[in-house]
């Protein structure tokens, strides 16, 4: 489970060759390190880090290797190891590792990939440790291993009833060669005692007491506090500032200009960019409040650069004009959509638009860094610390080997912390003042210097034949980029459904330049595209006078694997979740009051299959009251941690509803207007409906959950609004004024 991802092209299950190294831990006991070749870089040859450490007193310490951003991975990965190790969960201590991909591969919170990448490898790590302990016991008692069983951290000799704790066996086990991971025996899932059983988050007891777990809570002896004022227009540069005045303010230690550096690409072309150092003014003081107050007195002369006149309105106008023309390039073409549209009895034309949106993690971006004498120690809440290491090394001219990164719990990620801009800023400022520095962004910094979910415009035409089948689909997507290449996270995959199910289909695109940094936001692409596709499919269902849910099922067609993410889209699994949600929600079976309606939508997103139904009541004044959301989710045969899974699925749905109802980032004069939660808000408690989540178990490897449940809720809501009012929402966020009776 995890909340967000790099773009889809990076989601590929790597082929893995794994091996174990066993040894004696410093301080006694067994350590097992597990390496995945082909992913990790050997930065520190010979480094032996442990996933599992068993102390002579039988406490078991399991390493949590991935960044924890609220997705529960710090609990989930150790559950996998503990299960196969055959210990009781209450024996287990969990330690967060540092960032070091040469030892711990795949330290990324992104793409809902923690489960698919780790489900089996982590279990094998646990099983291998168990195997070694069994061998040690067999040697101790001089009995065959076949007479031994394990449980609750003990080995028992069945014929005699003798037992030894793992702790009593570690010294001997540590001297044994590690078994090959491929050869170890995994448990039959019906014997699971931990996997599949709700396990509360491991940090919970500390969180409810307010213990300092987050990046923003870090304190380093002798540290200063920093704020960093960047140009309100993202591509702009600081020319000069009243630094002498600022330096005289109470508690201020230093104030200076920071030059742009690193690999910051605003008008990105093609590939994902990992941000860099932006130009700005740093203020360093003996408290954050004093730094922040000094910033208020700051007068900066900016060179705002060429994008200073851009605006949301201007983008929309330009998009509307481009939408009237033919697309600049083709993403996909099947059959002859133009001809088929001419012949179709029902033709629908619709233009959809959605805005930029911010990530707005509850914990603003922050980082603490101590860069002195060519060495850096960094404390960061990052979803992808390794790219931060590279960025810091490059920008500051440090050897990556000399950078230590401690991964701190993050107060939300959603894709924002895949970028490491805060990390390079803190490192730069620390290096400049030759002291440890804690950089904390204000909420305004955070909201106005994001990598936004890109705005987008879709000009759609669809044709339905007499039998009610979609025979033509033409879609012109207007987005951002340059030279017919999409900017970061703006691209639309050519395989987007209903591709493969409409005989005459054309997806084309035109891109325009923008100075607004864009990036992945939870369920990237899908959080917008699924809304467009499933809304327009609903429009066509109504044009065909079909039941919208049945229309979606019919559109799936025969059972097969369509091109898509991973191994492709399995229409059977989509059918499964649609049928499930039909039953859960009583679709078509209940008589609804006036101006109340139900809508349905689905998504295949980050390897998960989800269908959702929303019931909504719209008052005559246009006010929206969501009655309930039902979600049917297929992420394979096993839900690792049911309590966390339900929480995560509900959270993703709440996130999607927030996007639909509340969220819009507005650009004026090249800069972001909204600067706090009054202008841009997540869903509130009052807006939150009951959400029922059910998992459909199918015989497929378990996959992640942070993202898949988000996309369908936006079109399901808008389709429900149409059912309730006859008004089609074609622009986000939903303008309730347009829904008045």
């Amino acid at each position: 489970m995890s909340q967000v991802s790099p773009p889809k092209k990076s989601i590929r299950l790597p082929s893995r060759r794994t091996f174990l190294i066993a040894g004696t831990a410093a301080g006694g006991g067994l350590v097992l390190a597990y390496y995945v070749s082909g992913i990790g870089k050997s930065r520190k040859p010979g480094t032996l880090n442990a996933y599992v450490r068993i102390a002579p007193d039988n406490t078991v310490t399991i390493m949590a290797k991935n960044p924890e951003i609220g997705q529960g991975v710090k609990t989930m990965l150790p559950m996998l190891i503990a299960e196969e190790l055959d210990v009781d969960w209450k024996q287990v201590r969990i330690e967060q590792t540092d960032a070091d991909e040469s030892v711990y591969p795949g330290q990324i919170a992104g793409g809902s990939m923690a489960t698919p990448l780790n489900y089996e490898p982590m279990r094998r790590v646990g099983a291998a440790a168990r195997q070694m302990l069994v061998t040690a016991a067999a040697q101790t008692w001089k009995v065959p291993e076949s007479e031994l069983v394990t449980g609750s951290g003990k080995v028992r000799h069945v014929p005699t009833g003798r037992t030894l704790t793992y702790g009593e066996l570690v010294d001997k086990a540590a001297k044994l060669p590690a078994p090959s991971l491929d050869s170890v025996k995994l448990k039959d899932p019906k014997d699971f005692k931990i996997i599949g059983h709700s396990t509360p988050g491991i940090d919970g007891p500390m969180l409810v007491k307010g213990e300092p777990l987050f990046g923003i809570d870090v304190t380093v002896p002798g540290m200063f506090y920093a704020v960093f004022q960047k140009c309100p227009v993202p591509a702009g540069k600081a020319v000069s500032a009243n630094l002498d005045t600022i330096k005289k303010m109470p508690g201020v230690r230093d104030a200076f200009l920071v030059p742009a550096g690193g690999q910051f690409g605003f008008i990105a072309e093609g590939d994902m960019q990992y941000s860099g150092l932006m130009s700005g003014v740093a203020v360093v003081a003996d408290s954050w409040w004093r730094a922040e107050k000094a910033r208020e007195a700051l007068k900066v002369k900016w060179d705002e650069g060429p994008t200073r006149l851009q605006s949301s309105e201007g983008f929309a106008r330009a998009a509307a004009a481009l939408g009237k023309k033919a697309p600049a390039f083709t993403l996909r073409n099947d059959g002859d959509a133009a001809a088929a549209l001419k012949g179709a009895p029902h033709v629908i034309e619709a233009a959809y638009a959605y805005p930029f949106i911010a990530h707005a993690t509850m914990e603003p971006q922050n980082c603490t860094a101590d860069v002195r004498g060519g060495k850096a120690e960094i404390w960061a809440p990052s979803q992808m610390p390794e790219t931060g290491r590279e960025l810091v090394a490059k920008t500051l001219g440090l050897d990556p080997k000399n950078i230590t990164i401690h991964m701190l719990r993050a107060g939300g990620g959603f894709g924002r912390r895949l970028m490491n801009d805060y990390m390079v800023e803190a490192a730069w400022i620390s290096q400049a003042v030759k002291a440890p520095v804690k950089l904390v962004w204000s909420r305004a910094d955070d909201m106005q210097h994001d990598f936004y979910r890109p705005a987008g415009w879709h000009f759609c035409k669809g044709g339905v034949d007499k039998a009610g089948k979609i025979v033509a689909w033409q879609q012109h997507f207007v987005s951002f980029g340059k030279n017919n290449k999409f900017a970061n996270s703006c691209d639309m995959p050519p395989y987007s459904f209903p591709a493969g199910r409409v005989p005459n289909l054309n997806y084309g695109a035109t891109v325009m330049p923008s100075g607004i940094p864009t990036g992945p936001l939870r369920a990237p692409g899908d959080n917008a595209f699924v809304w467009v596709f499933l809304s327009f499919i609903d429009e066509l269902a109504h044009a065909a006078r079909k039941d919208p849910l049945q229309f979606q099922i019919d559109l799936l067609g025969k059972p097969e694997l369509l091109p898509g993410e991973g191994e492709g889209l399995d229409t059977r699994r989509l059918l499964g979740v649609l049928e499930k949600v039909r039953a859960m929600s009583g679709w078509g079976k209940r008589k609804l009051p006036k101006r109340t309606g139900m809508g349905v939508a689905f998504a295949y997103c980050h390897l998960g299959y989800v269908a959702e139904v929303v019931e909504v009541a719209v008052s005559r004044e246009g006010e929206i009251k969501i009655g309930k959301v039902w979600a049917a989710v297929d992420i394979g045969r096993q839900i690792v941690n049911p309590t966390a899974a339900e929480n995560m699925a509900q959270g993703a749905i709440i996130d999607g509803l927030g996007e639909a109802l509340n969220q819009k980032i507005t650009i004026e004069n090249g800069r972001v207007v909204e600067d706090n939660f009054d202008g841009f808000s997540p869903l509130t408690m009052r807006q939150t409906p009951p959400i029922e989540v059910q998992f459909v178990l199918t015989d497929h490897s378990p996959t992640g959950l942070g993202e898949p449940p988000l996309p369908p809720v936006l079109p399901a809501l808008c389709n429900a609004i149409f059912a309730a009012t006859g008004k089609r929402v074609r622009s986000l966020p939903i303008d309730t004024a347009l829904l008045k009776a």
Binding site: G210, P250, M362, E363, F414, T643, N647, G651, P682
Partner: protein, 155 residues
């Protein structure tokens, strides 16, 4: 300026500017990091503490306005019966995702239960609607507050 503040049952003396918000005094001068910064202007509830039993946004209270009032933060809420019940309920319901907003949620809920021992769902929503949770744990927060309120009889 030197201030002697009554926080969590102890007197803490700090030397800070008059206009420093209580939030930053707690976090940076007293090293009580449980009270969280989310917005700085009273829009998110992450910084909620109790001042003489009332829930307030610590980001909006300059230290000079605190005087001899008694400040209670998440670090000490567990020493009150209501706070302890809430923490227990929070763990039982497994409310947390990232957990960042939760100190503020718990402090707001504690103030609610102190004045209304058996709140309806509407009372809970009314009291907690100003506390944002970006991860969307609202349904579990409501469940946990109800559980803590119900636990009162047994306690």
């Amino acid at each position: 300026m030197r201030y002697s503040l009554h926080v969590n049952g102890h007197i803490h003396t700090v030397d800070v500017d008059d206009d420093t918000p209580l939030l930053w005094v707690l976090r940076d001068a007293m090293n009580l990091k449980g009270t969280k910064y989310g917005c700085g202007v009273g829009l998110c509830g992450s910084c909620t503490v109790h001042i003489d039993g009332e829930p307030v946004h610590a980001c909006r209270r300059p230290v000079s306005s605190i005087g001899i009032s008694k400040v209670l933060t998440i670090e000490a809420i567990g020493s009150t019966p209501i706070g302890a019940r809430l923490q227990e309920a929070w763990l039982k319901v497994d409310v947390m995702q990232c957990g960042y907003c939760q100190p503020g949620q718990i402090m707001t809920a504690a103030a609610l239960l102190a004045r209304n021992a058996a709140p309806s769902e509407e009372d809970i929503v009314e009291a907690l609607d100003g506390n944002l949770c970006r991860c969307g744990t609202y349904l579990r927060i409501i469940e946990a507050v109800k559980l803590a309120a119900a636990g009162r009889k047994g306690a």
